[in-house]
């Protein structure tokens, strides 16, 4: 059983959050103490018929007090905003060397997949002291990835990719919870985050059944779902070639330029008519409803691997 306030601080981020939390706790505790003490003291001192001094009020009362405490609260709250907001801003940038793990949420489970293709359900093994970036999608409704010990929470909204990152500082097993109501078994959509020493994580990975990695699965899908019919190098259809595409900036037919990142590739598969590459006819059909989120992640990984191959 958790004694009060013994929630582990298992990430670098958790310590920052708790600083602010405890700061606010002290501040609001003091404020409450002052307000309650004032109310009780005044109520007793000026109870009906008590002998406390009444008579004419002192000259400085209303306006000076009003302006005083308005400005005081305004400055205090502006300071609190600055404090919390700067902590928030500094946590936004994902370290470049972060380990990328894909998460698919669905009613009512968490499916996770490691870079080498190892899959887990309602569990996630990660190495300690290494930044981890989660790329998350939902197959049905909104879910929310919540690890109390990490102080992280991120809604996973269908139709878009959500990202969070964290760096665990303690080994151990920490609960993973779904925090956004998602239907009948919402409260059963729980899992475990297992933080391991880095060498243990490497061992653990090698012991996993030989899952194809994402890019391999994507390569198969690329052929099976007919993508290669147009996008393969040998194809006769005039379609953009995908080698070297990932990370490049793409000129669109309406004059805009976009960066070919995960989101762009996902959008191009699901809504091909939205961003037409300059110089091509809008002939590609939409794959919305034909590919699930895991498959789109695999295809994206395949397209990215084609770029990495081209760069090597």
């Amino acid at each position: 059983m958790n004694p009060i306030f013994s929630l582990p601080e298992a990430t670098t981020h958790a310590e920052h959050v708790d600083h602010i939390f405890y700061g606010l706790l002290v501040l609001s505790g003091l404020t409450m103490l002052v307000v309650f003490a004032l109310i009780i003291t005044l109520a007793i001192r000026y109870r009906r018929g008590s002998g406390a001094k009444r008579g004419p009020l002192p000259e400085i009362v209303s306006r000076e007090f009003e302006i005083g405490w308005t400005m005081a609260t305004l400055f205090l709250f502006a300071f609190l905003f600055w404090w919390a907001a700067s902590a928030d801003l500094s946590s936004l940038e994902v370290p470049a060397n972060a380990l990328e793990i894909h998460v698919v949420a669905k009613q009512w489970m968490w499916k996770t997949q490691h870079p080498n293709g190892a899959r887990e359900i309602n569990a996630l093994h990660i190495p300690v002291d290494k930044p981890v970036r989660l790329v998350m999608t939902s197959q049905d409704v909104i879910h929310s990835f919540f690890v109390p010990a990490f102080r992280v929470k991120q809604d996973v909204v269908p139709g878009r990719e959500a990202e969070i990152w964290f760096q665990a500082t303690k080994t151990g097993v920490f609960p993973l919870l779904c925090a956004e109501y998602c239907g009948i078994d919402h409260s059963m959509m729980r899992g475990r985050i297992i933080v391991m020493r880095q060498e243990d994580y490497a061992d653990w990975l090698t012991q996993q059944p030989e899952g194809d990695d994402l890019a391999h699965v994507g390569a198969k899908l690329f052929v099976e779902r007919g993508c290669s019919g147009c996008h393969a190098d040998a194809s006769k259809v005039h379609a953009p070639k995908l080698a070297g595409l990932y990370g490049r900036s793409v000129q669109l037919s309406d004059g805009r330029q976009v960066k070919a990142d995960d989101r762009y590739i996902r959008d191009s598969i699901l809504q091909p008519k939205r961003d037409i590459t300059a110089g091509y006819e809008p002939v590609m059909p939409s794959y919305a409803g034909l590919l699930d989120d895991g498959e789109i992640q695999s295809l994206t990984a395949y397209i990215r691997s084609q770029t990495e191959k081209a760069n090597d």
Binding site: L80, A84, R151, K153, A179
Partner: protein, 557 residues
Amino acid sequence: MTDALLAGELPFPPRPDYLRDGTTLTSWLTTTDHKRIAILFAVTITMFFFMGGAAITAVRLELFTPNGGLLSSDTYNKLFSFHGIIMVWFFLVPSIPNTMGNFLLPLMIGAPDLAFPRLNLFSWYLTVAAGAVTVYALVAGGVDTGWTFYTPYSTMFSNSHVLAAAAGVFMVGFSSIATGVNFIATIHMLRAPGMTWFRLPLFVWAIYATSIIMVLASPVLAISLLLVMAERWLGLPIFDPARGGDPILFQHLFWFYSHPAVYIMVLPAMGVVSEIIPCFARRRIFGYDFMVYAMIAIAGIGFFVWGHHMFVSGQSAYANLIFSFLSFIIAVPSAIKVFNWTASLYRGQISFNSPMLYALGFVGLFTTGGLSGLFLASIPVDVHVTDTYFVVAHFHYIMVGGSVSAFFGGLHFWWPKVTGRMYPESWAKFAAILMYFGFNMTFLPQFFAGYLGMPRRYHTYPPEYQIYNVMSSSGAAVLAVAYLLPLGYFAWSLFYGGRAGKNPWDATGLEWTTTSPPPPQNFDRQPRVDRGPYDYHAEGQSAGLDPPEPQNSREVR
């Protein structure tokens, strides 16, 4: 010889008060008297209050143990959804405005009725019809979306009666709009001679600010629910991402109404407390004009903070910053009000009747709830505690600790005016104290459970949170008793309570210058106003023990 006779005026012929002016059921169901409509609303929302309360009683019973067993997950989800929908739209939103606002607004400004009496009656019928549709959703099998109707769950995945529930809420929104329009018109057009804007009682200002929010925000609720119904019923792709929709769009629309709606629920409570505290402290309210500006600021800024409900939705980090900043800013006027209520006690002659106990309880609970709001305005902390019991505790402190305490305070304060009867004061004090402690026992542990990570809307939960849930459920039992007690002694007072005079509390304010209960036309003569609202003592003086000189002492009998 009365003053009226001395002034050479003839006495009035005897006339019935509003309760006895027609006793048939038809006379009630077709009435356009704002006071009778207030009673109709009071009876209706009391029924809704106990329906919502029954639903949450089952929920709290279930949460005694981590793995449940009393209810299925499906039933559990439907019960908390029903609790939220009923309590927000059928109790809290109409609670103070439609009962006390309806009853007191014309009396406080010296008017014979609201500006549109028939619209007022229509608003009640609309509430009843909307309530019937919503309760039908429960009886037919329930709705399991939570009160927030988040898409795409509500539009594409839920197998429950979303359409009926959404239609009910859609309808009750129009009742809000009708009431808001009516109040705004009344305050603008029907103030008695001499009742300038800055002589309005703060309760009237509160109702005015609330009405503006009702009129401006409720249409957005109607739109968002209409879109939910269109997607669910007609398959119109608005929120479905696979067909070009966006689930987040719903959240923006929904919170654009639902955050201001929090102020619909709490501003009237602030108004009630601002009437009670001066009366029992025998003091002018401290900083009247700042109290007015603070309420207007809350109503105005309240429209621009909705995004703080969406810090973890994937909204832009820069939008988060702006909403976080505005959320801190809106805490300033709330803090000003707390300081002013406290300062109003200085050099008072304070007596602790039951309305005063409720009002002081309100200040304590509102302060606690407001301070916990600072945690939620700070983005990094909010990310951790949002969608947990921390948030549940926070908004119950504001909306139940705050608004419901003030509702009971107002009920005890104006009960003698409404019914002409007194209630047993010692029972009332006992209920007030019990409510304060029961409330804290129920909701204080939820802050701890939430910080430790217990998500809301969980039917089963990890066992380490059990201790907090047991504390909370036990407190809820105490709270339930405190809510049931007034039902008993108020009913008793209707038959056996002592007669209340015109002005049992020696309060200022026009409503206390007419008889209890008031006549159908409110005042026998047109009141005239020649002073500010809280004239308990001379300007620049401390409180005294003498009752204030009643206004219009020559003009009413």
